[in-house]
């Protein structure tokens, strides 16, 4: 064993809060960096065909080798200007409607869908509410549930609540090793249930939001490894690892029955989540 490996073996396992910080590392690759880095071709497509083009949702036609697919992802941005322009990856209703439109295109053209999830949540704003943030996310869930083409979702950083789920009703859900996926941010949970936002580390542990937790809870189907120190330390390697995961998983999904049988299987998969078992229920 090398010196570093010995040292790593002795290091305490990261806490949930450590993982939250890693998942939010601004050095992690963005959806655009994944799209441009892992794809041999990426044709970006804009707009929701209603009123806007939300820069917080990146979408387009993509190709890796001979595999063609529709790519949709939250775009957090790399520079300060870009981060502000795309609201740090927090999508507006226009973004979810753009995603819907691209997914329907995928279904029509017989392409699988790959989504890259990385958002603190859907954007909380005046226009977002006026244009129906709730309706837009709900509609996305309905569209994805019924989409007759395979869907692969990879949580690459933060899987923040409804804003994440809005593009993640998938046949396979993968988590990057240090990604998180949660019903609410640890800060939000702490301020409501502990009445103290500073208790976020406790809330993070209680929420069971790490990749391992998600696999144990059968919400995620697998973990994509990250380079040592996290994707933010070595973005190029992280992009290559995600590329491999996309290729392998799209190949596996292509071998499975499609059409309504695929939709039925997807329904069964989500139906099994949190399935009622009287032996595990609380005693009343």
């Amino acid at each position: 064993m090398s010196e570093t490996a010995k040292k790593n073996a002795k290091a305490p396992a990261p806490t949930a809060w450590d993982v939250v910080k890693l998942a939010r590392d601004p050095g992690r690759p963005t959806a655009r960096q994944y799209a441009e880095g892992m794809c041999d071709e990426f044709l970006e497509l804009h707009g929701d065909r209603l009123c806007a083009d939300d820069p917080a949702i990146l979408g387009g036609l993509a190709r890796i080798g001979k595999t063609r697919f529709v790519l949709v992802g939250h775009q957090k941005g790399s520079t300060t200007e870009e981060r502000i322009a795309c609201r740090f990856g927090m999508a507006s209703p226009d973004g979810f409607r753009k995603a819907d439109r691209l997914m329907k295109l995928a279904e029509k053209w017989g392409l699988p869908v790959v989504t890259l999830v990385d958002t603190a949540g859907a954007y909380p704003g005046l226009e977002a509410e006026q244009r129906g943030q709730g309706e837009a996310i709900g509609r996305s869930l309905l569209v994805m549930a019924g989409l007759q083409t395979p869907i692969l979702s990879i949580v690459t950083g933060e899987g923040g609540s409804g804003g994440a789920l809005g593009i993640a009703v998938a046949d396979r859900v993968l988590m990057l090793e240090h990604a998180i996926y949660s019903v609410i941010s640890p800060e939000g949970c702490a301020s409501i249930l502990w009445r103290d936002g500073a208790k976020a580390p406790e809330a993070a542990a209680a929420l069971r939001l790490t990749a391992r937790d998600l696999v144990a809870l059968k919400v995620a189907d697998g973990i994509v490894p990250e380079p040592p120190g996290g994707a933010g330390r070595d973005p190029a390697t992280a992009v290559a690892l995600v590329r491999k995961a996309v290729v392998d998983n799209l190949r596996a999904l292509a071998g499975e029955p499609g059409g309504m049988r695929l939709v039925e299987k997807r329904y069964r998969k989500f139906q099994a989540m949190g399935k009622f078992d009287p032996r595990k229920a609380v005693r009343t």
Binding site: G125, G134, V169, L207, R208, L217, F270, Q271, K280
Partner: protein
């Protein structure tokens, strides 16, 4: 005893039980008349919250409601505990106190003679939060609607997904919408009734995607909380922001119907189903 040494008597409570104080206009109204008025303030028309049982009594013909899934109670999937203690105890307490098994009551019942399947949320049960048990009850109710070829009526009253069940609560948004997708595939109508409040994850799943969305006057309906939005955009929001009327004016609610008219409105709507 001299009057100045006489101990002051505690002021007698003025029979507080006979009054209801409107939480909106502060009017004092006799509790009986307020309750007879379906918990709607006779002065300002404020629609107060109803329990799931009260809602069912309001909408369903007497004696026709058959409840489903009463055995489905909450499950502490995560072993969750917060500052106030374990979730399991909190959930068990809600079941005991309210006499319903989860934050939603489901079943079939007639509305002016037409049988439909209902899922009615109860805000008093942990804020009407969507949990895996609630999601399962809704999923099963929708399956009943499909199996028996009935219209599905959802009555929402919720603060959103239940944090105590973590990611599994979030997944119930996908689970219920996947059920609704099957209902749609089966060509069956879906009527969504939005009551105060319908927010967070419930607004972002089944509540706003009805074939017809009906809301009670003044109901709070929205995705993000007012304070969160004000902090994010650093400006004051209009007073009517996220009310039922605001959503109607922006195209997300079809009609606002007063509580006293709701049953008949629903029956009138159901009569349009020709398939």
């Amino acid at each position: 005893m001299a009057w100045f040494t006489k101990k002051e008597e505690a002021p007698q409570e003025l029979l507080p039980d006979i009054w209801h104080v409107c939480s909106k206009c502060n009017a004092h109204v006799f509790k009986d008349s307020w309750e007879n008025n379906l918990k709607v303030c006779p002065k300002c028309g404020h629609h107060d919250r109803l329990s799931a049982r009260e809602r069912i009594a309001l909408l369903v013909d007497p004696g026709t409601f058959r409840e489903y899934g009463q055995e489905i109670v909450p499950t502490d999937h995560l072993g969750f505990a917060d500052a106030k203690g374990p979730y399991a105890a909190k959930a068990a307490g809600a079941v005991k106190k309210l006499g319903i098994s989860e934050a939603v009551v489901t079943g079939s019942g007639d509305v002016e003679g037409v049988r439909v399947v209902f899922a009615v949320m109860d805000f008093a049960f942990l804020g009407g939060s969507l949990s895996s048990g609630a999601g399962e009850k809704i999923d099963r109710a929708i399956q009943h609607a499909i199996d028996f070829n009935r219209t599905f009526v959802m009555v929402s009253a919720s603060g959103g997904a239940r944090m105590h069940e973590g990611i599994l609560s979030l997944m119930q948004m996908a689970k219920t919408c996947a059920s609704l997708q099957r209902l749609q595939e089966a060509g069956l109508p879906y009527v969504s009734i939005l009551t105060d409040p319908t927010t967070g994850g419930v607004s972002a799943s089944y509540a706003l995607i009805g074939d017809v969305n009906v809301a009670e006057p003044g109901a709070l309906i929205g995705f993000a909380g007012r304070r969160v939005i004000e902090t994010t955009i650093k400006q004051k929001l209009p007073d009517d922001f996220q009310t039922a009327e605001y959503l109607r004016d922006h195209g997300f609610v079809d009609a606002i119907v007063e509580r006293k008219d709701l049953r008949h409105y629903l029956a009138t709507l159901l009569a349009y189903r020709q398939k």
